[in-house]
């Protein structure tokens, strides 16, 4: 039941007239993508559902065990601890990354004319995550890394970064902020470009301050982009794996054993493919819930630009 206050205005748009031949052409155009989707996403996902009800060690024939894997997920303290660590990572990663990206986008919009500088920002995103993780692993090494050589002289002193139970998750989050910030900034930047300049002109005629303009005009009009950035980076962030696999392997003392790393361990180290897929399914459900929640809270299907 809608209370009527927040309810979207009813809008009736006439469906575009379709000619069958055009429809066929359209489907032909998306066919390659559809085939790719079916082969590389749909089929594996459905197989995953099936495997999650089996006990399968990859090498022998799987045997059906019903709900046993899901029952074990609920009772597995390591699963819950991994989920908790993942949430901790997300809470470090998303706010820092989004705020920095937004700031960068505004700075680009206002200050930077050079295409070259804008291009530089996206460079980290183009690097492979494994390479990024390796670079930071060496930069931040307690003894041999250059960052600690610098810190050694300062009041802060040397830091452990990846090897301390307290710092490992924030460090991994920072590495990924560095990698993804530029790409998200570009998305925000594109969103900023889409805001008509006339709105800003009107605001400045009314004597609105820079800050008010940002709060009252820029932020609300950016909302569709913000939703896109938040939803995609949240999904990606929950699936953090590669940086952990390269830098900490879940350590020290399990401090960075995130959910996907635990799933990977079960699948490929412990040969428990059924159990690993069951956990993946649970993660999938969690992500669907989070995504829907975000879309609803942020009113994703509306725009203020009308």
């Amino acid at each position: 039941m809608s209370t009527g206050i927040d309810a979207p205005p009813l809008r009736t748009t006439a469906p575009p007239r379709r000619f069958p031949s055009q429809a066929v052409t359209g489907y032909l155009f998306i066919l390659p993508a559809l085939i790719g989707f079916a082969v590389f996403y749909l089929y594996p996902a459905l197989r995953g559902v099936q495997i999650s009800f089996t006990d399968w060690n990859l090498l022998s024939e799987p045997s059906t065990v019903g709900m046993a894997n899901y029952n074990e997920v609920i009772r597995d303290p390591k699963f819950w601890s991994a989920l908790g660590i993942t949430v901790k990572y997300v809470l470090w990663n998303i706010p820092v990354q989004t705020l920095l990206a937004l700031g960068l986008a505004v700075a680009m919009d206002r200050l930077v004319k050079s295409m070259f500088v804008k291009g530089l920002l996206i460079l980290p995103y183009l690097l492979s995550s494994v390479v990024v993780a390796m670079i930071f692993l060496w930069l931040l090494d307690p003894f041999l890394g250059i960052v600690n050589q610098w810190l050694d002289g300062t009041p802060l002193g040397k830091q452990s970064f990846f090897t301390s139970a307290e710092q490992a998750i924030p460090t991994i989050a920072f590495v990924n902020v560095w990698k993804h910030m530029g790409f998200n900034a570009l998305l925000f930047y594109a969103g900023l470009q889409a805001i008509p300049r006339t709105v800003y002109e009107a605001a400045s005629i009314d004597g609105a301050s820079e800050l008010t303009t940002f709060r009252r005009i820029t932020l609300p009009l950016l909302r569709p982009v913000t939703v896109f950035v938040l939803v995609t980076s949240l999904i990606g962030s929950f699936q953090i794996f590669d940086t952990v696999a390269v830098t900490t392997q879940g350590g020290p003392a399990d401090a960075t054993r995130v959910l996907v790393y635990y799933i990977y361990q079960n699948a490929f180290s412990f040969f428990r493919m059924g159990y690993a897929t069951a956990m993946s399914m649970v993660l999938f459900v969690i992500l669907v819930v989070f995504t829907l929640l975000q879309m609803r809270l942020l009113r994703a299907n509306e725009s203020d630009l009308e």
Partner: protein, 436 residues
């Protein structure tokens, strides 16, 4: 016309030769240091068997086992691959390895030519999954320059003793080689453990369940055993002796500041030794060339410290080559495996001086090769020959899970988050529960 004839002739010979060289064996190993020696073996092998070529692929240790497993499932695993004691039981119980016994019987291959005990490690439930190709023991690698600077002679390291209470003369030697920023060593009352410039000893802290290069050489001479024998199902990590040894090792850093902390070591492994910031490092014989040939300072080798039972004890480990059941060229694969385990190939490997071959005479060649480069490696070989000087790698089912439990538990102790005596009993219960 003549030209055409020549062309046809060339084509025919090419066709014939490709037809006869039809079989290619895919062979995997993980150690880049060993690849040249085995490449040489492969070349010699093809010379004797012109119809078989061997294609060698080297993969890093971490990708190796995942690559094999996915290869088994997708049918792309290599015909032959280097196998490890920690991994073969799982593969064997999932029927991925060829039982070599019938082939050995058919071809009358001798299995008693290797160092005593090595061949037995590859037998499970009466089936044999590999012929030994090499062995390894552990010993002390030391930075000879640091030793000299501390006024110590190599012979000072030849008869060290260790016990879990005060660390014995081993701990004294470590303290003497640990120096703080004001130049005081670890034996001095003015030693500042917060400002250490050079550590006497470096441990890798890792290797959760077997401790081959970290703690097994301390715990074995205390009379402690990992479990109740080959393919054991009852583990002893809850034993107070084990907790004592682990706590001693952790306290070397936590209490005494004589070794780098877990945090400092984790990311770089042996980096501090290579960087000339740690004087001694206990590691396996497979590291000899790496340490003695490539570092900018002189590295010497000393035997292990003697434990409470008066003995030096090293884990005895070795590799073998396995044939995958899915191989389409099993007969050729067997020929290659047989060759790898033969005197001829092991001599080739021995002369390269990278690892110790499983056949004693070939090992002598390796010792001589090192000697020619000015490195005395006899303590590793003596360790293998000494009566009671070795104990087996704990071959086990569920190795990955046992390792996972022990790694995280030991890390808590090394980080100082928990006392060994408080957490190891619980970890042991979890390990034993895997075998129920």
């Amino acid at each position: 016309m003549k030209k055409l004839l020549t062309l046809t002739a060339t084509l025919t010979t090419t066709l014939v030769s490709t037809a006869s060289a039809a079989t290619t064996i895919e062979y995997w190993l993980w150690d880049a240091n060993q690849q040249p020696a085995y490449q040489q073996c492969a070349a010699n092998f093809t010379r004797k068997n012109p119809d078989i070529t061997v294609k060698i692929t080297q993969k890093g240790w971490n990708d190796y086992w995942t690559g094999l497993t996915t290869g088994f499932v997708s049918g792309t695993a290599p015909d032959v691959f280097t196998n490890h004691l920690a991994y073969y039981p799982e593969f064997a119980s999932n029927n991925q390895l060829v039982d070599l016994n019938p082939l050995i019987k058919r071809d009358k291959v001798a299995t008693n030519v290797y160092f005593k005990g090595l061949a037995d490690l590859w037998v499970k439930n009466g089936k044999r999954y590999g012929l030994p190709k090499d062995f390894d023991t552990v010993g002390i690698f030391y930075n000879a320059d640091m030793l000299a600077k501390a006024g110590m002679k190599p012979t000072d390291l030849a008869n060290l003793t260790w016990n879990p209470k005060d660390g014995g003369t081993w701990q004294k030697a470590i303290a003497r080689l640990t120096v703080d920023r004001s130049g005081n060593n670890g034996l001095s009352p003015n030693f500042n453990k917060k400002q250490v410039k050079q550590y006497g000893y470096l441990t890798g802290y890792g290797a959760g369940f077997n401790g081959q290069t970290e703690w097994a050489f301390y715990t074995a001479p205390m009379g402690w055993k990992h479990n109740n024998g080959l393919f054991g199902t009852k583990y002893n990590y809850g034993d107070p002796r084990f907790a004592q040894a682990i706590q001693w090792l952790a306290d070397l850093n936590l209490k005494h500041g004589l070794i780098p902390s877990f945090k400092d070591v984790q990311s770089s492994g042996d980096g501090l030794f290579r960087a000339g910031q740690a004087a001694m490092f206990i590691n396996g014989s497979w590291m000899i060339s790496d340490f003695t040939q490539k570092l900018p300072f002189k590295v010497g080798i000393a035997p292990l410290p003697k434990g409470p039972n008066g003995k030096r004890m090293s884990m005895f480990n070795g590799l073998s080559d396995a044939i995958w059941v899915g191989s389409k060229n099993k007969e050729a694969a067997w020929k290659w495996v047989k060759y790898l385990a033969s005197v001829e190939c092991q001599n080739t490997v021995g002369r390269s001086g990278v690892v110790f071959p499983a056949i004693p005479s070939a090992t002598n060649l390796a010792v001589a090769a090192h000697k020619a480069r000015g490195v005395d490696v006899s303590s590793f070989v003596n360790q293998a020959k000494a009566p009671g000087g070795t104990f087996y790698f704990p071959i086990t089912d569920n190795a990955a899970q046992v390792n996972d439990i022990m790694t995280s538990t030991l890390q808590r102790v090394f980080l100082g988050q928990a006392k060994a005596s408080a957490v190891l009993k619980d970890a042991n219960a979890k390990v034993n529960a895997l075998f129920r």
